[in-house]
Symmetry: C2
Subunit: 180 residues, 2 copies
């Protein structure tokens, strides 16, 4: 039962569809996520790129980017673990959208290749990991926050963050590797 | 015949597999791409994110990020066209790699969802568009450059850039839209 609730809540987080458009400053509405008390960091959309990926399965089709603040990027580029206090990683998830305009160009430029381009469509959610070894000692030194449409998810959702990241303990609970 | 050569050259550009690791500064080896005379811009890997996408078709499976220098990002964020001189857009292409370590976590956290995570693997190539309305008047005001493993592609390859971007004339020849 507990496992089912965990999965359902996690799936809700994964598939929530919303068109969240942060203001240019990147500052959210100031509401903090439960448990960890994390608000949307100002300017996160302008942080540097760690890597990109895409996720597929059933109705879930997302393109994703991970960005880092200066402290996080420095640690990634230098390959230093654990991450120092103050490091913040942002995970931006969008529903992927088949781009007909791109596909027309691809069909013309690469005839017969059957290429399809999937671009970032509506935003799904934005997640943050905030490193503070002392404050978040109970969850591996990281605080977690998940926002959909600028609003934080509930407590049940945030209880799923750390268990999900635990398998990456040997990389300080961070799944993403820096893309060269 | 001409079309076939165009397609073959373009496919070569698309599928070239190499593990290009730019130095931390992002500065390349200084060799300029033909026709447009563009070198790898210093520090491009630290530019801000425009959007992400993925490309699929046959053996081509890539995750991609588009980054912009400050001039380009400002124009994207303000929705201003045409892009001002000095704008540079970088397109980073990686072979996607199925992440078994991510998939294990996904299978545990989202049982039955069949989720698969595709992350950035080896680098394919890096492309640049450099805006200079006067210098590059013959190609819509943009110069183009394509580097694989830090080395620019040949002239035949670079002849394919502008024809491919022409269909996006109404967006100043830029395919990528800023991801909110």
């Amino acid at each position: 039962m507990k496992r089912t609730v965990f999965a359902l809540v996690a799936i809700a987080a994964l598939t929530g569809v919303a068109a969240y458009m942060p203001p240019a400053s990147g500052q959210g509405d100031g509401e903090a996520a439960p448990i960890y008390g994390i608000k949307i960091p100002e300017g996160y959309r302008d942080w540097r790129l760690i890597s990109v990926n895409h996720l597929a399965g059933g109705s879930v089709k997302q393109v994703r980017a991970q960005l880092g603040n200066d402290i996080a990027i420095k640690a990634f580029q230098e390959g230093k673990l654990p991450f120092p206090d103050g490091a913040i990683i942002a995970a931006l998830h969008w529903n992927e959208s088949l781009s007909n305009e791109n596909n027309k160009v691809l069909a013309d430029g690469f005839p017969g290749a059957g290429l399809e381009s999937f671009v970032a469509g509506s935003a799904v959610n934005v997640q943050f990991m905030v490193k503070n070894a002392e404050k978040y000692a109970a969850s591996g030194g990281w605080g977690y926050a998940d926002f959909t449409n600028g609003k934080p998810g509930n407590e049940a959702l945030h209880k799923t963050c750390f268990p999900c990241h635990e398998p990456a303990k040997d990389r300080d609970y961070v799944f993403t590797r820096y893309a060269r």
